[in-house]
């Protein structure tokens, strides 16, 4: 699974680091470090973390019922 965090929005509330510690960790008091491609086994935790984020900074592929990834390679020509 793929995710990205908008670190302009992130204010270091650390809710994600509590709910999905495999994917999100605090680096120092406030900086967030995340795994942009956590294992699929983490999906439940990661989705809970994304939903709990007070500033909605976490985008997870396939969240909100959006279709899962289409692969760029699949339609790659030339």
């Amino acid at each position: 699974m793929r995710l990205v965090v908008d670190l302009n929005r992130c204010q270091g509330y650390a809710q994600c680091a509590f709910l999905a510690p495999e994917a999100f960790t605090m680096h120092g008091d406030e900086a967030l470090m995340y795994d942009p491609q956590p294992d699929d086994a983490q999906r439940g935790n990661v989705l809970r973390a994304a939903q709990a984020c007070p500033v909605k900074a976490i985008t997870v592929e396939g969240m909100n019922g959006a279709p899962a990834a289409e692969k760029a390679g699949a339609s790659h020509v030339g």
Binding site: N8, C10, G28, D29, A31, M33, P36, A66, G78
Partner: protein
């Protein structure tokens, strides 16, 4: 196919080409589909990879926590595009509405979006740049190569240039237990972006973390052994450092060479566009069908004296791409201006550094919360009596408030009392930005200031 005069037809069956398959290109493609564009979409990218995220490359990836090829960006939705990855665009024929590609093919468009971004400025001496052990850090492949080399445990790493990328690399090296020397031409790390007052805090952080930080110094040469491996760097103070790895962090160059003979207003400083993201041609006339977004764009900003700002910021790439995509398929009265307030972040030496506004425009700075000595503070930047920017070290929660102050052109120094008014009182001091009219190499004439009242011509003779 021509769809001139028919917006509906463009939206239904037009052909949109996006050149540049990174963050801005992907988010633009998603926005086009979100807004109902059902025509053909082609995305051209010179790298062979799917759009990926760059900020983790100098942090998580160098620390070995995330493999370099694991930063592929999540998709917000399907984009149903034809991807031409690993193929650079080599030319643009605006009259024929055609983009030429490196493999000899050409793609015709009704609307074109240019999101070709920037690349790392290489070490200027080619033979030295080719030495084994000399790196830049911009792409996923760069990060993979540098991480691999750091994992081999070099005796010392040299970081050339202490901007954000250089400082983050130095931080990762120290965290990995590697000896690192940082050579910075300015008086302190981050001085060009955040000024001398905050730069001094950054210098303290680096030294406390064990970085051999050398400011006011230039690297004059890189020396290899007989096998072509980097062994030594020579510095402008006559000293030298034994190093096995050097990372060149001297900023970025805009990817506009492919537009050189196109007639588009593109050059080393980017592609100028209007607030609606429409590119200017070389005559200064705005185009109707060529749009730009992201790091390669320069657009006027009403909050900052309508200066053409060129922003290498993650958030700018996203927002400008969304605005450009919307405007590409909208009638003129439905178009939106790109008026994003500049914001960025950096994580280094365990510190969360965030900025809003345009600090380098400032003449004065005041610490309104926390203190420099505690390395936990909010600094507000003033320009001609108004708040122009704010920077936080581990105090990100305050930034939104200051963004509102900037957007309201609130007076500087701030008139409100803050929750932790310092016993030493609050007084603005000079922000300590380097004078842009002072070049660092050789004698030259420079012209500075963007508005007629600010214009200044200076001659600077050769200095020692």
């Amino acid at each position: 196919m021509s769809v001139d005069g028919s917006l509906d037809r463009l939206r239904r069956e037009g052909h949109i080409v996006i050149v540049g398959a990174s963050l801005a290109g992907l988010r633009a493609a998603e926005t086009l589909r979100d807004e109902g564009f059902t025509g053909a979409l082609t995305i051209v990218g010179d790298e062979p990879h799917e759009p990926y995220d760059r900020p983790p490359l100098s942090k998580q990836v160098l620390l070995g926590r995330v493999p370099a090829d694991h930063t592929t960006l999540p998709r917000r939705r399907e984009v149903d595009a034809q991807w031409r990855l690993g193929v650079a665009a080599t030319g643009l024929d605006m009259a024929a509405k055609r983009v030429h590609l490196a493999d000899g093919a050409a793609v015709e468009y009704d609307r074109l979006l240019i999101t070709t971004g920037v690349r790392a400025r290489p070490w200027p001496h080619e033979l030295e740049a080719d030495l084994d052990g000399v790196f830049v850090l911009r792409t996923s492949d760069d990060a993979a190569g540098l991480h691999h080399r750091l994992s081999a445990g070099p005796r010392r790493v040299l970081v050339i240039g202490a901007g954000f990328t250089g400082s983050e690399i130095a931080s990762a090296c120290r965290e990995r237990g590697l000896d690192v020397t940082v050579a910075e031409r300015g008086s302190a790390p981050l001085v060009g972006a955040l000024g001398g007052v905050v730069g001094e805090v950054a210098a303290t952080l680096q030294r406390e973390a064990g970085v051999d930080l050398r400011c006011g110094i230039m690297v004059t040469g890189l020396e290899g052994d007989s096998a072509g491996r980097l062994r030594r760097a020579h510095l402008s103070d006559g000293s030298s450092v034994e190093v096995e790895v050097a990372v060149v962090c001297l900023g970025a160059t805009r990817n506009t060479e492919w537009l050189a003979s196109s007639g588009l207003g593109a050059g080393p400083r980017g592609i100028a566009c209007d607030a609606g993201c429409r590119a200017f041609d070389v005559r200064g006339i705005v185009t109707d069908d060529v749009f730009v977004a992201g790091d390669v764009a320069r657009s006027p900003h009403p909050l900052f004296g309508y200066q053409f700002l060129s922003l290498e910021h993650w958030g700018n790439a996203v927002e400008q791409a969304e605005t450009a995509a919307h405007n590409m398929i909208s009638s003129s009265t439905d178009r939106r201006p790109h008026v994003w307030t500049p914001s960025f972040w950096s994580a280094q030496f365990g510190m969360n550094i965030k900025s809003v506004g345009v600090p380098p425009m400032a003449d004065e700075i005041i610490v309104t919360q926390g203190s420099l000595a505690e390395r936990r503070f909010t600094a507000v930047y003033g320009y001609q009596g108004r708040v122009i920017a704010a920077v936080t070290f581990d105090q990100a929660k305050w930034l939104e408030f200051y963004q509102q102050q900037i957007e309201r052109a609130a007076p500087f120094p701030p008139e409100f009392t803050t929750v932790d008014r310092r016993p030493e009182g609050m007084h603005p001091v000079p922000a300590g930005f380097p004078d842009p009219s002072l070049p660092s190499h050789g004698p030259t004439v420079t012209l500075s200031g963007h508005s007629p009242s600010d214009r200044r011509i200076s001659f600077t003779p050769l200095s020692a």
